[in-house]
């Protein structure tokens, strides 16, 4: 017979039967065996797994002392030598959802064990942790406790045994944003015609690629006075100093470079390169000012049309950027510009 998977179950103060909102400040704790919903979880695990301990924490305490709470919970569960952590389900409770996500991620990283959290797909904890852990969609209704725990148990056992994990729709977890190839029954051209005809008939169809969800950004107020403005030039066209000392990637960027241009009247071709896999860089290499218009900006500066050109150009290569990296690069550049007193930015793309 297969080894029984050792399971630890995480609950908040309410489901751990300590109390309601009045006990939300209670710190972490542990108890051997099951508590409350653990009964249904144990049933779902059957003979394949055993809940060796239940850990719990008040929602407020976890939210306000996340690091301590995690340290303590991990320390308490470690002696039980778990193979799997099941956290929740938290349904639509945001603080509980975040706690389930955070403790699952910590167990995965620090104890190198499998973890499954449960919560509604719109729970803030889901958006925070779905990329890094498996989250089973519980919906909002507590009436779904038993089926949710059954799904979590089945997925958790597979993860703990390192079995292959099927698709989200089959295993019940929220997609983690990682795409995989698989063989299809029909070629793409046939599927595309099928989809178009379904659309024309008004039948249901499912797009194979979903539109990405970006967090929007609020545009800054317009500059009132250009004559006193400090303007920076920023590009994703891959401008680098000759030799590319910061090793900026021509595609799939993870970093940016900061190029000093104080006292530079114009970008001389022999001193700069363009590295970028997404466009023909010949023109930019012939005259880097056409990628980043330092020459024109200097003229405007001389005429007094703008106050000052910022003394650094920030540059990265934008081809096939992962959204996370692009977001981070953008934030870091914006932070530097802001602390340097820059009031306006011209972004040149390719």
């Amino acid at each position: 017979m297969e080894k029984k998977i050792r399971v630890v179950h995480y609950l908040n103060q309410f489901f751990a039967q300590i109390g309601g909102e009045d006990k939300a400040d209670n710190g972490p704790g542990i108890k051997d065996g099951i508590i409350g919903p653990g009964r249904a979880l144990q049933q779902a695990l059957g003979d394949s797994g055993e809940i060796v301990a239940t850990i719990f924490c008040g929602d407020n305490y976890f939210a306000e002392h996340q690091e301590q709470a995690i340290d303590e919970l991990i320390r308490q569960m470690e002696p039980h030598k778990p193979d799997l952590l099941i956290a929740g389900p938290a349904f639509e409770s945001g603080r509980y959802g975040i706690a389930c996500g955070a403790i699952s991620q910590a167990a995965q990283q620090r104890l190198q064990i499998a973890a499954v959290a449960g919560m509604d797909e719109d729970n803030v904890g889901a958006s925070l942790y779905r990329k890094n852990i498996y989250i089973v969609n519980s919906g909002v209704s507590i009436a779904k406790m038993v089926p949710t725990l059954q799904t979590m148990a089945a997925l958790g056992l597979k993860l703990a045994r390192r079995d292959a994990i099927g698709k989200p729709v089959h295993e019940g977890y929220l997609p983690r944003g990682v795409k995989h190839n698989e063989f299809a029954a029909k070629p793409p051209a046939e599927r595309a015609v099928d989809m178009l005809l379904a659309k024309l008939r008004g039948d249901e169809f499912v797009s194979e690629i979903a539109a990405p969800k970006f967090s929007g950004s609020k545009p800054a107020a317009p500059l009132r006075d250009l004559k006193s403005a400090v303007i920076a030039l920023v590009t994703d066209g891959g401008l680098v100093p000759e030799g590319n000392p910061d090793n900026i990637e021509p595609g799939r960027p993870t970093r940016f470079t900061t190029i000093p241009i104080a006292g530079v009247a114009s970008l001389a071709a022999e001193k700069y390169d363009a590295v970028h896999s997404g466009y023909d860089t010949a023109i930019a290499n012939r005259d880097p000012n056409r990628l980043v218009p330092v020459d024109t900006m200097r003229a405007l500066e001389r005429e007094g049309a703008i106050g000052k050109l910022h003394e650094f150009v920030h540059s990265t290569g934008g081809a096939h950027a992962a959204v996370e990296n692009a977001t981070r690069i953008g934030q870091e550049i914006a932070q530097q510009l802001k602390s340097a007193g820059v009031t306006g930015v011209i972004l040149t793309s390719t």
Binding site: V178, H180, E182, P187, A192, V193, L196, L197, A211
Partner: protein, 424 residues
């Protein structure tokens, strides 16, 4: 206009004293074909190799792939090989399971690969064709762009030379592609009229001045236009980059629209266009392309595909949006690259996308006995676009860690592949 494509199912290819097609066996006079191709003054010498399906053999640095074709009633690849003329009508012979494979002997970063057996061959039709591989070596000092154009022309020569052997051979199967002039192209009222909108190139990597893409034109400044679908199938179009011409000759979308023409749709026609570089040009060309589909082809729905990198995604989305604004329904085929990047330029109104697969998906190809086209391959999986002179090249016959997208023909942007994707 009607094209009769007479296919001969070749069962073996071998070198012999004379080039001939006899009893489904293609014999090639290696000397004669070599001399024909070596006439090109930019080449120092040309080698020709054969690779058979099932063989433990790998072809590297693949530049383009062609199906051997010979037109009985007119020019072959007019503007690119033969002088000007038109294609898409009359009779054409095809060696339907033979491919001419061009290799690029100056490419330093090429990862394009064909395995004639093993896992790669399960992904691509080109791993299952009898491949006649051209290995042209440039003379010293020859410009690499000029060399590549010469290699592509050599491919056209070889493809025509080989299929000419089928001139007097009865085809095993004749596929007829017949679509009347626009004014006469009326189907029953209950069949939706579908047009195919086809950006055949993205000028984010511009064509060479002397490059021959469509009827010998370098298609710089190309405006959207109506073409007969048969022209694309019959040698008017060779891709510049990012796609293999075999998939224009065997265009999956055009084949599919023909296959279902009169059954559950009516093939309204093809709008051929490019992806230009500036926003103004993109706005103009995408609106015009949609307008042609709507007001000239009278389409109810359009299907669009792209050739090129991420920059063309914007053109596809603009075509889609313009088409729907004009009252048509739209669907796109759009290739995915990285597992975690997604397609960035998808407006909220775009809800009908089909993927031919994810290119940067790791695959390990086993070692092989024989390699054609290169002795080594420089694989920098962490940073594939960079020149990395410090990298130790891997022997070409070794087991290789590549991506699905490196396998020639595994994922074609015009909708050929065996794949789809799912998100986990």
């Amino acid at each position: 206009m009607r094209l009769d494509l007479g296919k001969i199912h070749v069962q073996d290819v071998r070198f012999d004293a004379q080039t001939a097609l006899d009893n489904h066996v293609l014999s090639i006079d290696r000397q004669e074909l070599t001399s024909l191709l070596a006439q090109e003054p930019l080449f120092e010498r040309v080698e020709i190799e054969l690779a058979h399906p099932g063989e433990s053999c790998r072809i590297l640095r693949v530049l383009d792939v062609l199906e051997p074709r010979y037109r009985l009633n007119g020019p072959n690849f007019p503007g690119a090989l033969d002088p000007n003329g038109l294609v898409g009508d009359g009779e054409t012979r095809a060696l339907s399971n033979v491919a001419v494979v061009e290799t690029d002997q100056v490419a330093t970063k090429s990862r394009s690969i064909i395995d004639m057996s093993g896992p790669a061959a399960t992904y691509s039709p080109i791993g299952n064709t009898y491949n006649v591989v051209l290995v042209p070596h440039p003379k010293a000092g020859v410009d690499s762009d000029d060399y590549r154009l010469a290699v592509k022309k050599a491919g056209l020569k070889a493809a025509t030379y080989l299929a000419a052997a089928a001139k007097n051979v009865m085809p095993d199967e004749t596929q007829t592609f017949d679509l009347p002039p626009v004014a006469a192209n009326h189907g029953p009222k209950d069949l939706p009229r579908i047009a195919y909108v086809f950006p055949m190139h993205s000028h984010q990597h511009p064509t060479q001045q002397k490059e021959t893409v469509f009827y010998g034109s370098n298609i710089q400044g190309f405006m959207p236009t109506i073409v007969h679908p048969n022209e694309i199938l019959d040698g008017a179009l060779m891709f510049s980059y990012s796609a293999f011409t075999w998939f224009a000759q065997n265009h999956p979308v055009i084949h599919e629209l023909y296959r279902r023409h009169g059954r559950d749709l009516w093939f309204a026609g093809v709008v051929l266009t490019i992806a230009p570089v500036t926003i103004a040009e993109k706005e103009r060309n995408t609106a015009l392309a949609a307008r042609l589909a709507k007001e000239v082809l009278n389409a109810d729905g359009i299907l669009a595909t792209k050739i090129g990198g991420g920059a063309v995604d914007t053109d596809l989305m603009m075509i889609y949006t313009r088409a729907e604004e004009m009252g048509m329904k739209a669907t796109l085929i759009i290739m995915e690259r990285y597992p975690d990047t997604g397609i960035t330029f998808v407006p909220a109104n775009v809800n009908a996308l089909v993927t031919p697969g994810l290119t940067r998906d790791a695959i390990t190809l086993p070692a092989v006995d024989r390699a054609i086209g290169a002795d080594t391959i420089a694989l920098d999986n962490a940073n594939p676009d960079s020149e990395n002179p410090g990298l130790t090249p891997t022997p070409a016959r070794d087991a290789l860690n590549l991506w699905i997208g490196d396998i020639v023909g595994a994922i074609s942007q015009v909708g050929a592949s065996r794949l789809t994707t799912y998100m986990s």
